[in-house]
């Protein structure tokens, strides 16, 4: 039965991932050395990504959803970007669920875990027994009937899709970011602490990373949240320092700080920046580092207006699951809705980005 074989191949991927997560396993040690050299995260950031944000298990319901999403193709080609460093686990799991024969092209600059996964799966008994083959390639050569899973910037995805032959199914996963909505009744300290956990994971490099927070209430409440988020980030940085910044990100970070000085208020220290923009019409998009825009909104409707220019790029909303205002924001559609603090831990039920 193809579905059960696909499920076994997914479990094989998760077995390899579990070894990668285990710091005592030689594979885990190799992964840490590799990611510390290429991911841009601090060693503590790599450890956090591996131990807290790497998929190693799946329950039956999620497996069913994943297999339903995956479909059934003879061959799956995976094009990875310089993504969050552990993203290859889910990408490979989706690929082996889609097809027995997987060809994977990692990012040349930041291959992440993809080469290790491909190498270990190639000699994994259960993977083979369930018809699985996998190899790392430099170029995609898809035939009609194949499926291509591609991750990266929208322009890159467009290039890849245009280059494909007819009859090849293309599934692109573009850029995006997460949003936090702090409900009127939310405890600001709790919300700030939880959001800091979502920010620190992957240093805001992921498409689930919460780059903007909308705080319901008057500007004083929004400012208080920004201040508490900054304090929470300071506390977390003591345990998990931010990775070093390249020149482009450093410049974008400095420029964002200057924007905050000009149009809002900056809270932060050397390793993070929280910018409070009062009730500005639209919150500026911060750079992909430990930086966050905080905006005060009167209610969910004004929150929807504030976020409208970014709507196509929203992947996930963190908020109070029982709050009507938060639920109405999540009704934007095509986004995951989860508790703040859990935004970087989506269930393994398909791509992290459901758009």
């Amino acid at each position: 039965m193809p579905g059960s074989k696909a499920a076994e191949r997914v479990r094989a991927v998760l077995e390899v991932a579990a070894r990668i997560v285990d710091a005592r396993d030689p594979l885990g040690q190799e992964a840490r050395r590799s990611l510390e050299a290429t991911s841009g995260l601090s060693p503590e950031g790599v450890e956090l990504a591996l131990t807290d944000h790497t998929e190693t298990a799946i329950d039956g319901a999620d497996m069913e959803r994943l297999l339903t999403w995956a479909g059934d193709a003879p061959r799956c080609h995976v094009v990875l970007s310089s993504n969050v460093c552990t993203a290859a686990v889910r990408a490979v799991a989706l690929a082996v669920a889609s097809a027995p024969d997987v060809r994977i092209r990692p990012s040349r600059r930041d291959p992440g875990l993809a080469p290790l996964l491909a190498r270990e799966l190639a000699s994994h008994p259960s993977f083979h027994e369930n018809d699985g083959t996998i190899m790392q390639v430099n170029a995609i050569e898809a035939r009609p009937g194949d499926v291509v899973h591609a991750y990266g910037a929208d322009a890159t995805l467009g290039d890849i899709e245009r280059a494909l032959a007819g009859g090849v199914l293309f599934r692109g996963h573009g850029t995006g970011f997460g949003l936090v909505f702090v409900s009127p009744r939310a405890d600001l300290d709790d919300a700030a602490g939880a959001m800091a956990d979502d920010v620190v994971a992957f240093d805001q490099r992921g498409c689930l990373s919460p780059r903007i927070a909308l705080v319901a209430g008057d500007p004083g409440r929004g400012r208080a949240f920004a201040s508490r988020l900054s304090s929470a980030l300071t506390a977390r940085a003591a345990r998990v320092p931010r990775g070093p910044l390249d020149a482009a990100t450093a410049a974008a970070d400095a420029s964002f700080g200057r924007l905050a000085d000009a149009m809002g208020e900056a809270f932060g220290e050397r390793d993070h920046l929280v910018a409070f923009f009062g009730d500005l019409a639209v919150p500026p998009l911060p750079p992909a580092t430990r930086a966050v825009s905080v905006l005060s909104v009167a209610d969910a409707a004004s929150g929807q207006r504030a976020i409208a220019p970014y709507r196509a790029f929203l992947t996930t909303i963190g908020g109070d699951l029982d709050d009507d205002a938060a639920r109405s924001l999540a009704a934007l559609g095509g986004v995951r809705f989860t508790r703040i603090g859990q935004m970087q831990r989506p269930p393994l039920d398909g791509p992290v980005d459901p758009r």
Binding site: D110, Y151, T175, A248, S255, D261, A262
Partner: protein, 370 residues
């Protein structure tokens, strides 16, 4: 605060005099005076100066002026005058998904912009021998009035009395047959032509024309601006310049790069036509525009020779902000010439997290709205 039209008019007049070569004003003093006027009228700049603790009245160098990031033009109105006095608003280019947040540069008069554009294009691009035809591969200002690039090219066409063929349609792109037809007409009449193009359009047209384009008469030239960020293909500048020279039959020195942006009122040019030499990607600013490389971590101006992000002090930005901070990666030599490298190191490593260039598609170094 009410708009002080007399103060603005007086500053415009002094800047135009500076552009015309009158050095009654010192560059730094005039820049600081402009910034002080702007800080009083533009809340974002006033707040930035206050937060940074900058006393513009006590400063002696334009380096002291805090440069406003170009992103500020997306999220707030950056103008000393009220919106009802806008004569023209230039907007940055952008993808359809980012249309609501295109940067806007409002102008209440175009006289200073025009003076700056013409005064530097004259020696760098438009000087004798005289031109007769313009083959325009950028937006027609009649159809796209918010494109600063289109406006500038339209200005050149009008002031030089060029016979212009506008070949760019925002929906359909460049009409290659119209380009070939205009080139053929210029060749047949033996009258010099200038091609105005973005790099992306030029690459597409050169590919399409191949050897099928008649050589333009001697003295003709090509102006190219912008890069390929966010585009489906990328052509190295050297290869593009060689190809353009071959397709249009002009010397390599007559293919000239222009570097400008919507948030500025002045432009830089590669001095290849003016001097007969000069490397591709090295741009010369006019005397009323000072460019510095700024430290990427602090945005403080760096000494000549160091690489950093481009900071502009443009005296022609009278009613917006005189100091503008970009993320373009440059080095500025001791003569003021600017080597443009494009994006800063590391920019290509950002992964699946949305960056603002992805949203707006206008991260091109030197790309004006169009």
């Amino acid at each position: 605060m009410s708009f002080d039209v007399a103060a603005s008019d007086a500053l415009h007049a002094r800047v135009r005099a500076f552009i015309a070569g009158d050095r009654a004003d010192d560059f730094d003093a005039l820049a600081l005076e402009l910034a002080a006027y702007q800080a009083r009228a533009i809340p974002a700049l006033g707040k930035l100066c206050a937060t940074a603790g900058v006393d513009l009245g006590a400063a002696s160098s334009a380096d002291a002026i805090p440069a406003l990031p170009t992103d500020a033009f997306r999220y707030a109105r950056i103008a000393a005058h009220p919106a009802e006095l806008d004569l023209r608003v230039f907007r940055t280019s952008g993808t359809s998904r980012g249309a609501e947040l295109r940067g806007a540069h409002p102008l209440r008069t175009l006289r200073t912009y025009e003076a700056a554009a013409l005064a530097w294009a004259e020696p760098m691009l438009l000087a004798a021998p005289p031109l007769a035809h313009a083959i325009v591969l950028v937006p027609d200002p009649a159809g796209v009035p918010d494109s600063s690039l289109g406006f500038m090219v339209g200005l050149f066409v009008d002031r030089l009395g060029l016979r212009a063929t506008f070949t760019f349609d925002p929906e359909r792109g460049v009409d290659v047959e119209a380009v070939a037809g205009a080139a053929e007409r210029a060749a047949r009449e033996g009258r010099r032509a200038i091609v105005f193009s973005t790099a992306f359009a030029l690459a597409a047209v050169c590919d399409a024309l191949g050897d099928g384009c008649p050589s333009l008469p001697a003295g003709s030239r090509v102006m190219v601006t912008g890069g390929f960020k966010g585009r489906s293909r990328e052509v190295p500048a050297g290869a593009l310049y060689d190809q353009a020279a071959r397709v249009f039959g002009v010397p390599a020195s007559h293919v000239v790069g222009e570097y400008g942006m919507t948030e500025l009122s002045s432009q830089l040019y590669e001095p290849r036509f003016a001097t007969g030499s000069g490397a591709i990607g090295v741009y010369r600013p006019p005397p009323w525009l000072r460019v510095s490389a700024a430290d990427p971590a602090t945005l403080a101006p760096l000494p000549p020779g160091r690489e950093g992000v481009a900071r502009f002090v443009d005296l022609a930005n009278v009613d917006s902000v005189v100091a503008v901070q970009t993320l373009d990666w440059v080095a500025v030599d001791s003569t003021g010439d600017v080597t443009l490298f494009g994006r800063a190191p590391g920019a290509e490593l950002r992964g699946c997290s949305l960056v603002i260039e992805d949203l707006f598609g206008d991260g091109d170094a030197g790309l004006e709205g169009g």
